[in-house]
Symmetry: D2
Subunit: 341 residues, 4 copies
Amino acid sequence: MRPAQGAQLESIPIPAFGPSDVLVRVRAASICGTDLHIYHWDQWSASRIRPPMTFGHEFCGAIEKIGSEVEALRAGDFVSAEMHVNCGHCRACHAGQPHLCRNVKIIGIDADGCFAEFVRIPARNIWKIDAAIPEHYAAILDPLGNAVHTVLAGEIAGQTVAITGCGPIGLMAIAVARACGCSTIFATEINAHRRALAKRMGADEVLDPRSHDPVARVLEGTHQDGVDVLLEMSGNPSGIRQGFQMLRQGGRASLLGIPSEAVTLDLLSDVIFKGATVQGIYGRKMFQTWEQMSSLLKSGRLNLEPLFNERLSLDRFTEAFKLLETGQAGKILFYPNGDAA
Amino acid sequence: MRPAQGAQLESIPIPAFGPSDVLVRVRAASICGTDLHIYHWDQWSASRIRPPMTFGHEFCGAIEKIGSEVEALRAGDFVSAEMHVNCGHCRACHAGQPHLCRNVKIIGIDADGCFAEFVRIPARNIWKIDAAIPEHYAAILDPLGNAVHTVLAGEIAGQTVAITGCGPIGLMAIAVARACGCSTIFATEINAHRRALAKRMGADEVLDPRSHDPVARVLEGTHQDGVDVLLEMSGNPSGIRQGFQMLRQGGRASLLGIPSEAVTLDLLSDVIFKGATVQGIYGRKMFQTWEQMSSLLKSGRLNLEPLFNERLSLDRFTEAFKLLETGQAGKILFYPNGDAA
Amino acid sequence: MRPAQGAQLESIPIPAFGPSDVLVRVRAASICGTDLHIYHWDQWSASRIRPPMTFGHEFCGAIEKIGSEVEALRAGDFVSAEMHVNCGHCRACHAGQPHLCRNVKIIGIDADGCFAEFVRIPARNIWKIDAAIPEHYAAILDPLGNAVHTVLAGEIAGQTVAITGCGPIGLMAIAVARACGCSTIFATEINAHRRALAKRMGADEVLDPRSHDPVARVLEGTHQDGVDVLLEMSGNPSGIRQGFQMLRQGGRASLLGIPSEAVTLDLLSDVIFKGATVQGIYGRKMFQTWEQMSSLLKSGRLNLEPLFNERLSLDRFTEAFKLLETGQAGKILFYPNGDAA
Amino acid sequence: MRPAQGAQLESIPIPAFGPSDVLVRVRAASICGTDLHIYHWDQWSASRIRPPMTFGHEFCGAIEKIGSEVEALRAGDFVSAEMHVNCGHCRACHAGQPHLCRNVKIIGIDADGCFAEFVRIPARNIWKIDAAIPEHYAAILDPLGNAVHTVLAGEIAGQTVAITGCGPIGLMAIAVARACGCSTIFATEINAHRRALAKRMGADEVLDPRSHDPVARVLEGTHQDGVDVLLEMSGNPSGIRQGFQMLRQGGRASLLGIPSEAVTLDLLSDVIFKGATVQGIYGRKMFQTWEQMSSLLKSGRLNLEPLFNERLSLDRFTEAFKLLETGQAGKILFYPNGDAA
């Protein structure tokens, strides 16, 4: 695929790989919202991406070959990967926050990704997949990791939760929060299809912010205290402001949704006098989040089935992107090396 | 009841109460292991208790009367109470750890308790019970709080857990850990009846330390890493040592079980080189634990039914204590003011 | 004093006090920025304050009398007080965050304060002052507590720090951060007098944001990483934005300054993708901050002398408020019961 | 050097190095207590070390050559190194605790170390040294890191501290705790020379546990509360027990000292009912500790001069080890490539 207003399916050589890399044969790949931006070649894409490039960063597959310095991995291992490659020597890397590396290179954005038969990955970024985890779940560990990272960025057991925005990651966050012992979950979403999914994923109350006042309802449902935890998944300025108004004094707001513009906040009431803790969430912790996510999946604590719909061969990518634009699709899987399961 | 080798049921005046106190009419009360120590008038009891005294510290009931300075509570409110009354001015109280007050007075040990028709409680120690919480659960919030405090003293979601000792609090801890998204739970217990209960509460593997090597089994079940979290509920020196050997490098050990003697540990291997975090757990956090516990109960995340058996009027206390000594009983409830539900 | 465009000095009765209160004879009191708002009777004051009322909430003094239920305090004890009186039963109080109580009453705002010979304080809000702490320091524990709370809201040892805004609390924060082992301190301030004070308090670099680009300078001074910790003390929207731009990936931003309007932020770059932790800071932790502050003062770790200037009798309050409006004054002390020391 | 009852100085080839390694020309190296164990070829050494091997793991030097895959390092860079090489894929590594890797290899114990002209180090273990840090300090970052890790394993600002055992790391911990704003420091040590050093490093009270009751004195000096933080540096069972008795309810105990036998503790009083948090401390956090330590050194917050005495060429190693056995020496530096500075 060569991004530049849409994409093309092309034959390219199998990627070369170095002594510390592995080559993975892609079994299944999934499309992220970021891929949609690249597909549309928006301003951000044009400034960051250097075409021709293969995109895609959510996948699972089997190791085909390993570099000469690689230990602890073998050809045939079934794996996924953390696609954020950190530098190891900036202040964030040194501070135990490699997921916040300021020199990060993202495979599928800054280097060739997984919408292909093969993808090259540094060995230290590989994640081995437990046999108990279903293959289609293994293909979406990247966004599931975003959800797990957001939910577990603070206390969740026994906490009331508001989730603003029910795209795929918001929907996953509902399932994760519930599996981790949260109390009442309030979710907001403008898309009716997604509201229905939010109910199926386990939200206690799903609100349409255009027809109700979600803030009033959440306060009413929490003895006027507000929720303990806000998981912001909309990126919408109005959704963000509503989320902060739903938050109790001393609550936690974890922000993952990506606003496309600057956001005006009532910092005094909603953050300072509220004594709120606000966390920017980016990527997944390397590799705490991967461990947590794998444990939750292995022990069968998460039912993500409602999220999946189409499974397509890679040549049907145009169809896939069209479907995603409607907001009706959950996660669409590609099978670059053959039949969908 | 007057402790001194057994106990007596006596008529005593309704307790007097001050301007900041409330008087509660006890609905249901439950027996703690500590009450058994008092009943047997062991060395600890003889040194601490000043008879005649009414004991008992697990209960629920309705407020009968309130002191002149009491706000935010009303006669008729259905309540339980934190029975540890802290001083408010020692270093631990000032450090935000009132549950570790060095001048703590415990109602039912240092002042008249709840094995009676009425009990006096300082208003700030009262906990209002949500209408969604069943009455018999409301009677055991004190020990359930111990279990919740222990489980939630660190990360639990996605963590593998070993619980050494399955008395009532160990059994509750299984249910709590599971509700909060833990991964595999290994439990150890020598009593067959309790092992069966541990399974019913949700443990994945229940081991008899006398017929298996529980350490070898836990290591085998965790890729030789050991568990992320040890919840020590036995107080048994050998159980404690086994627990530490089950713990992974960098794991968390939360100790609640009460050893009756000094314990010899391989501090170097099991704590220092392991980089373990060991936490002494005492009481319940005031009132974070109460909030967490109430939220878990309100949202129906905990099934504690297997723990309950006998419900008795207060005059059958001798029968109750006999039953408890066998180790077969779970939680026994008294109804000092009339019929068991 | 009766606020309503200025203030008046009046004779009023010695306050009545209840069984859980103490009456304190004020030795020295200090003026807070909030008092200046009240003095000017701005919109916030008019909406919140119910005159006639005595204002003032920073003080020290000796206990004159104690209520009938008060233990652990004696007439003659030299004390200050946490003036935020929390309810004890809202979600924040239950969560161990009484400083974020949603029903808080502030003595000096919602009840008669300390610009008077006597002030009534609930016994549990009293803080006994160690004999090693100088009297004039004891009069400003309230704002010093704000500074300590902000600095110690996260890691500080070995961290690079930016402090935006060098009013009295910003200046105190410089001394506190330095005493607690921080690395380089960058401070920004538009007032030249305060910039000079910032140097004296221990800032390594003090920048005038009107004549330099403080963001560029801080990045240059931190290998382009940015600082580990932002302590926002200006409340100025532009200062807040600059502060966030100075912050490294994964850094901590603790916000104490009070913006008078909504603030527009580049949430995506400055919080979300940055993985920042943003904390609203309000009041002081009850009573962790008081312990920390007392320990720092007792062990002589803080030199706050540059902050003090005028010491006046209470009848010279007009002079004091005028001086404060110029921004030249540090902390001004009143002595309602007689001669300044 | 070939350990086996003493050591020998031999000519060996310059180490080979792989594509991800660097070769460092050693400028100065220092002797650790562990080296003394190896020198004496005790039981632990005989079971772990595979001679012939070069030992030594505390050093600084200049990069001589870099492997073909190494970025961000250059020949000539002045560096030290984290000598614990972690596997990257065990549970602790995945949990963000690489310093607790269960497959750790230690350079100088499991591979050739730094008592030589050249040492091979994996590039990711190299730590670049800031130009502001004196060379002799750069040679002891490994043990200084132990001290910093121990002190900063929890809150330290405004905390009272007991340090049991004043060997080199205990002495460094005094300086670090003081630089980070701790309150009173009580230190215990049986060696008079080290007690004198403890005073010079900044301890407020230095106690000889053989002539005083140090527990009684610490309780007396803390209003009978006990200290907030115990830093255990002795490894002595009796010292450890005294340390726990000095600790307040809810305090932190960080254990670094290495006991040579099992330790019997009063777990109930000293850990469980005390609600203590006990931390095993091993190595240094990779690389949070290195950042904190470098920041403290760069900003001149630590005076370690009293710790240094002899500076020797490598052929005088017998003399060095003899001196260390007396317990009189602080840190002894070797200069394998030429004259001591």
